[in-house]
């Protein structure tokens, strides 16, 4: 059974069934990554354009690998080298690329909602690879896959998301996905880095890291996004590190078999201490592997099958 949608723009608008379908598919795709010949012919002849208006290594590479393993043709456009620097607007960029007849766009943009704007103007599928402070659905899905693999379920678990929640689309996608699947989500961070709308969201807010981690099954630590801080939110990264940095000692407050996750890139010594990052309970590299599998599943479900008529 396929997804009955044209685009994947966020986990907020997806149903638990859809999320489960993608995760199940991704789980079975992981086996392909262990083969000697890491290629299946499924998406042969389909073309994908990745359009990144913001720097990214892991997400873009992960989508590219996912597409290539599925035999799709992937073209990547880094905006620094594109005609955007010559003053072309988003709409014209998309119209130009659309005229080259791709089947799917993967878009990252610094403005929340940019992928939605594109999805509304093209008939091709669009995947949001991160838009502003809004959503990053593939990261949310790969985090959920990592938790399911280690914990066997999502339902009833407590997930503490620690750090710069305010600027984090990862936190938002995790929150929507996890709560839909029956997990409890905590936002943990200094008050200046917790969004003011958090009181209307299905989360518990903690401004004390010890309390926030206590009893959690999963501790998902976010990067301190210095490039998004326009000043005044944090006195210094050193102070943040002292008050909120995840140390081995602090992690002991979580459940005995708790796992640690981080979407990367990690700032070692700031939000995460190296001994935690390198420990057995760190899922960081597993998350990266799962990212490829999840993105393969997303492409698979968006690009195939028309038997169940697609409604946008």
């Amino acid at each position: 059974m396929g997804l009955k949608r044209k685009d994947i723009l966020g986990l907020q608008e997806m149903s638990p069934d859809e999320i489960e379908t993608i995760l199940e598919t991704a789980l079975s795709f992981k086996e392909i990554l262990t083969r000697k010949v890491k290629k299946v012919p499924t998406l042969r002849g389909r073309s994908i354009i990745t359009l990144f208006f913001e720097p990214s290594t892991r997400t873009r590479t992960s989508f590219e690998m996912a597409g290539k393993i599925m035999s799709a043709d992937v073209s990547s456009i880094a905006m620094a080298n594109s005609s955007v620097v010559k003053g072309e607007c988003l709409k014209d960029t998309i119209l130009t690329l659309q005229a080259m007849k791709p089947d799917l766009f993967i878009v990252r943009h610094q403005a929340s909602g940019a992928p939605h704007f594109i999805a509304g103007m093209v008939k091709e599928s669009v995947i949001n690879a991160g838009d502003g402070m809004h959503e990053h659905p593939s990261q949310g899905l790969l985090d959920m896959l990592t938790i399911i693999e280690k914990k066997g379920r999502l339902d009833g678990l407590t997930v503490a998301i620690v750090g710069d929640i305010l600027h984090s689309r990862v936190a938002r996608s995790n929150m929507w996905g996890l709560t839909k699947m029956g997990a409890k989500v905590r936002f943990v961070g200094p008050e200046t880095l917790i969004p003011s709308e958090a009181k209307n969201l299905p989360v518990e807010v903690y401004t004390n890291v010890e309390e926030g981690i206590k009893g959690a099954d999963v501790v998902n630590v976010l990067r301190i996004q210095r490039e998004r801080m326009t000043g005044g939110l944090l006195p210094s990264t050193r102070e943040y590190s002292r008050l909120f940095g995840i140390t081995k000692e602090r992690l002991k407050l979580a459940k005995d078999n708790a796992i640690f996750m981080h979407p990367g890139p990690m700032n070692r010594g700031v939000e995460i201490m190296p001994d935690v990052a390198d420990s057995d309970i760190s899922m960081v590299t597993e998350q990266v592997t799962n990212g490829v599998a999840v993105r393969m599943a997303m492409l698979y479900h968006l690009l195939g099958g028309t038997e169940d008529a697609v409604v946008a």
Partner: protein
């Protein structure tokens, strides 16, 4: 639309057919040393397990078993999206004679996909095909090496294989759709 159902194999028939196929596999390959049995997900999987068990009992060697999901290799992905199953082949395919196991062969397209999938895992010494039921209507130049039962059917009919591992009982039915 009503359906007319008639049973064409019972548990004993299936058991005997599998036993005969096991003997034929051993005879043709002069033993079971270099064999690997691979069931096509989903109903081929339990049949592969059973064949491997029977062969092991006859020959006294353990025959490795795997399961192959072919949904990513189908030629109809653009029209329908199959639910993806599981692939788990816990042995080296290269150099082995692989016996593919499927419950029913019809157009032959599944077997074509399965051969492609298998080739991506390595280079088997040979691929052979065992099916419980051959219902005819091939669309590709593919012919099974081992057949449990030849069952002439019309394209309007459906062959329903039920297995103890999945449906609780071993049975094969022909389901005829009749216009009211």
């Amino acid at each position: 639309m009503t359906e007319q159902i008639s049973q064409v194999m019972d548990a004993d028939d299936i058991r005997r057919a599998l036993t005969r196929i096991a003997h034929e596999i051993i005879e043709k390959n002069r033993g079971a040393e270099k064999l690997g049995i691979v069931g096509v997900w989903r109903k081929g999987a339990p049949l592969a397990e059973r064949l491997a068990k029977i062969i092991s009992q006859i020959e006294g060697v353990r025959v490795p078993v795997g399961v192959l999901d072919i949904s990513l290799y189908r030629d109809d992905y653009m029209t329908r999206q199959p639910k993806v199953g599981k692939t788990d082949i816990p042995f080296e395919v290269t150099g082995r004679t692989i016996v593919l196991v499927e419950e029913v062969i019809y157009t032959g397209r599944t077997v074509r996909s399965a051969m492609d999938a298998l080739m991506d895992m390595g280079r088997p010494a040979a691929i052979q095909l065992a099916v419980l039921v051959d219902r005819g209507h091939r669309e590709l130049p593919i012919r099974p090496d081992y057949v449990g039962k030849n069952l002439p059917t019309s394209r309007k009919e459906k062959v329903d294989v039920q297995l103890a591992e999945m449906q609780g009982e071993d049975r094969v039915f022909i389901v005829k759709k009749k216009d009211p």
